[in-house]
Symmetry: C2
Subunit: 266 residues, 2 copies
Amino acid sequence: MATRDHGDPGDAPSAPPPLTPVVDDTRPSAAEEARTIAASTNTGTLASLTATGDPWASFITYGLLGGAPVLCVSNLAEHGRNLAGDPRASIAIVAPATESDPLANSRITLAGEVEQPSGDELAAARQAHLDAVPAAKYYVDYSDFTLWVLRVQRVRWVGGYGRMDSATAQDYAAAEPDPVKPSSAGAVEHLNADHADALAAMARTLGGYPDTVSALCTGADRYGLDLKVTAERGIAYTRVGYAAPIDSLGELRKAAVELTHRARQG
Amino acid sequence: MATRDHGDPGDAPSAPPPLTPVVDDTRPSAAEEARTIAASTNTGTLASLTATGDPWASFITYGLLGGAPVLCVSNLAEHGRNLAGDPRASIAIVAPATESDPLANSRITLAGEVEQPSGDELAAARQAHLDAVPAAKYYVDYSDFTLWVLRVQRVRWVGGYGRMDSATAQDYAAAEPDPVKPSSAGAVEHLNADHADALAAMARTLGGYPDTVSALCTGADRYGLDLKVTAERGIAYTRVGYAAPIDSLGELRKAAVELTHRARQG
């Protein structure tokens, strides 16, 4: 993960480092995070170019064909004219908020060029848009509306403060949305409500913080759990990985039980 | 309000026209709608230009100095470098959703050029950003963060399907956010729950639909009420204006009572 130093005036809180090795900090790649965010909603903001090359931001709806956003916009609207005039475009997508601080939430930018689908891809693109945006049935066949597929060339993911990376177009296209994260809120809540001791044990023996006082699960995905650790030395964030990646929310319970056993043996 | 014809394939539902004159359909101007939307949140999406002139969409937070968005972005982030390289920018802002169909909700684009504030404006811009984005206190003084004020030159407002218009920079700067609309949800709910007869009377004698069967209030602002009318001829939308504009939610009750009296005399 790319990290860079801010020009720190010196008073930012700092997290204590782990005291023992983090056993498995595997987490979704930037490409996987981006695919998960793209699949999490049907609205975003398009940046297109006006006739004079100025950047124009506008709200849009989209469906997904693989990871490629499919737009359906009117040629009567400014962004429709912009795309017809210059295919360069990018789309910013914000995942549904989980944190009250807006910049702590996840978002992506997908950039490339738009193209009108044709042949078999036209029908697939039309259906992909309709699947994601049911109300489009009222206008998708209007003669002034055009379907555009964004051919993604650049992917930028920001997961919150200090968590960000780029992904190649190839990695983005090949990745899958996380099958666990979008529906894991209830399971995470349950872990925190009923298994606080198990989470603390995980942080102590698998997460690198033997001085853990308590640990809160802040997220679950196909590879493991994110933990916020209250250690004797301060607040830190770490990661515990399942024995193997899981493919559905239904497998999370078993994976968490295995993590707990392993943590208590440690 | 600017409206244009879509290339209608012929099966779109059409609303019956009023049978009598609409007494007062004054509604907020596009400039007022835009100021209201800008004041309704602290997040938006920036469109900036990369070094090669490509459009780059990215999530941002903002405060408002008058109607001008004030951003605080890191020069380490792509959008920060973009703004430093070319000041042309626009910001799309989406009002908090009131409709499940995303395109039925209100949004704006503010376009112009960014400028670093200086002198007295610097302190005011810094405070405007901090007032809207409290967490910015952790980074606003980092040396890699820059405050930018968007000098708004163009304003585009979309209020939902078929409701859209542009506003001049002058009108936008001179307008005020609506003092009633953002906090009117409870009052609108009360009107619908307890005063259905009064709303139907308003639609019949003031709103142009003497064949009203029932009417639902769908919004309130400083000038009047939006009504969704079920008439004998079908569903229509109309507007009833208060005797005079109001300046706060507290004045809405009196204005609605006056509307009811007037409607029943009609």
